[in-house]
């Protein structure tokens, strides 16, 4: 991705929250520095001077809009995806989401951002021809399969705390979901162990 203000590669992905709407900025190091310094001059940032580090987040809040307090923003930032564990704050810093479930978990927050980027909030293109398995809710697409991301995380935590019963429960649950959702390999092929 290129910087929005020149042709250098964008290394800073800043998500601005202002006036209740969200704006994404993709900037090269130089333009990001200029941009962040502007905010600092305006009394925005509390960081010391010098070159911003990659993914600097503190300045990314920018000017807050009417009705949106720093507390609101802080609360929003702390929202966590149940599956992959990414916080909205991390997303704002990186400009990259953590997993498919984020589109459901952060749907309200992402909506204005996506509307701003695409001028639309509804997919009208192709759809996978394979139906979701029986018992799964088609209204959330493949989110039933994405649940295994959370189960895998839980399994790891269980192993770390030596709760092997919980770990094996999660393992079975993951297998059950994957068996229902993941199509078999094309005939004649066997998966490597």
């Amino acid at each position: 991705m290129k910087c929005q203000q020149c042709d250098n590669p964008a290394v800073f992905h800043i998500t601005e929250l202002e006036s209740g709407s969200v704006r994404e900025l993709h900037l090269c190091e130089d333009h990001a520095r200029t941009y962040l310094n502007q905010n600092e001059d305006a009394g925005g940032g509390s960081e010391g001077g010098g070159a911003p580090k990659k993914g600097v987040g503190q300045s990314a809040g920018g000017p807050l809009g009417v009705g949106q307090t720093a507390d609101d923003l802080a609360a929003l930032d702390q929202r966590v995806c149940e599956m992959c564990g990414i916080t909205f704050f991390e997303f704002r810093n990186q400009g990259r989401l953590g997993c498919p479930h984020d589109y459901i978990q952060f749907e309200k927050e992402l909506e204005p951002l996506i509307a701003n980027i695409h001028g639309a909030t509804e997919h009208t293109g192709r759809r996978p021809s394979r139906a979701v398995p029986a018992g799964a809710d088609p209204a959330v697409g493949t989110d039933g399969l994405t649940e295994v991301i959370g189960l895998r995380r839980g399994m790891k935590e269980a192993i770390a705390s030596e709760d092997y019963e919980k770990a094996s429960e999660n393992r079975d649950a993951i297998r059950g979901i994957e068996d229902r959702w993941v199509p078999p390999l094309p005939s004649g092929q066997s998966p490597t162990p």
Partner: protein, 358 residues
């Protein structure tokens, strides 16, 4: 691994044979897809990346796509080989520079490439010579359909195909054409043309160049939005503006020939002369001069050079290609090697003798 055989060949998209190939170098469509059961690549653990790489590799290789695919394990390539694949446009710079398990499946024509673990788990690309967006779209649709049968893509009815960056969500499609626009650059109309494109939300960027100046007058035009319109509409959006730009460029070329015939002939001849005789030459200068010569050939000012050769030289004079052609024992600098390669190419067999004085 067939990287060494690749150095001896050129991709189909460089043959300069497709429609409007005097101006449109290539047409490209790519789709971004992710597995529903793993975090996106930037949040994936090392184990997750190894898993997604294995699952996609096994299933892509086994899917009956009607084309033979070769798989290259990009994670274990030397840096020069990764750069080589970038120069050939088979992988992205981001994919080359990334960490962890990743790979690319390519067909022998170098039309189809499937990048595993780039920013998204899967990036499918179809690259065709000349203006052939619809052909590239039809081909990528078939490939995508076959993979979809064996891979559970992350999908949401409202948001479409789910991608790591919200800028790709929905169709996940990027439609682009690479254009050679030397006459619009010389007549200083290029900025005007591009400003009009921004108004209809198409992105323009110089190709090959690192800075703001496009190296060699090559530009890429692509769609910026991916949600709220169908893939066909997004393909058409780019397809609609290309004839307009082609028309501008043709008129600018006619103007140059009509009004500044001597000047243009002089510029083109000098460019050709430098390429045939220089003893040291940078990548940037090479691109600039090849661009001029390419225009000269198309205007009938240079007779004995083929467009496919110029297209091929544009790729083969880039650093990683030169390094691979030269082998590991070469100790002369890139710029000397590049000049030697160009002289050999343009002067035929006897240049070997003339250049051995180095």
């Amino acid at each position: 691994m067939r990287l060494d055989t690749l150095t001896q060949s050129i991709g189909e998209w460089l043959r300069g044979t497709g429609p409007e190939s005097d101006i449109v170098m290539s047409s490209r469509v790519r789709l971004a897809r992710n597995l529903a059961q793993y975090p996106f690549v930037n949040r994936a653990t090392e184990q997750d990346r190894a898993d997604t790489e294995r699952i996609l590799r096994e299933r892509i290789v086994a899917a009956p796509m009607g084309i033979a695919l070769d798989y290259i394990d990009v994670g274990h390539l030397e840096e020069v080989d990764r750069r080589f694949l970038v120069e050939r446009q088979l992988i992205s710079r981001e994919h080359a520079d990334a960490q962890g398990a990743r790979g690319v499946a390519i067909d022998c024509m170098e039309q189809v490439s499937l990048m595993i673990n780039e920013e998204d788990h899967l990036r499918i690309q179809c690259l065709h010579s000349g203006l052939d967006l619809h052909g590239a779209w039809e081909q990528i649709k078939t490939v995508d359909d076959q993979i979809e049968k064996v891979v559970p893509y992350a999908f949401h009815p409202r948001w479409g195909y789910l991608t790591a960056c919200p800028t790709n969500v929905g169709t996940g499609i990027r439609v682009s054409v690479m254009l050679h626009l030397p006459a619009l650059v010389i007549t200083r109309q290029i900025d005007k043309v591009f400003r009009s494109l921004h108004k209809i939300s198409l992105a323009v960027r110089g190709l090959y160049g690192e800075g703001s100046q496009a190296m060699g007058d090559f530009y890429q035009i692509s769609n910026q939005t991916t949600l709220g319109r169908t893939e066909e509409e997004l393909v058409q959006q780019v397809a609609d503006v290309v004839p307009v730009i082609i028309d501008y460029e043709r008129r600018a070329r006619e103007f140059l020939v009509r009004e500044t015939q001597q000047n243009v002939h002089d510029q083109v001849s000098r460019a050709y002369g430098i390429l045939r005789t220089a003893q040291t030459i940078t990548n940037e200068e090479t691109m600039q001069l090849l661009s001029r010569v390419r225009m000269g050939v198309l205007l009938g000012l240079i007779g004995d050079v083929k467009i496919a050769d110029i297209n091929s030289l544009l790729i083969r004079t880039q650093p990683a290609h030169l390094q691979k052609l030269r082998g590991s024992d070469g100790d002369s600098s890139d710029d000397i090697e590049r000049a030697r390669y160009l002289r050999q190419h343009f002067e035929g067999g006897d240049s070997q003798v003339k250049t051995s004085a180095n």
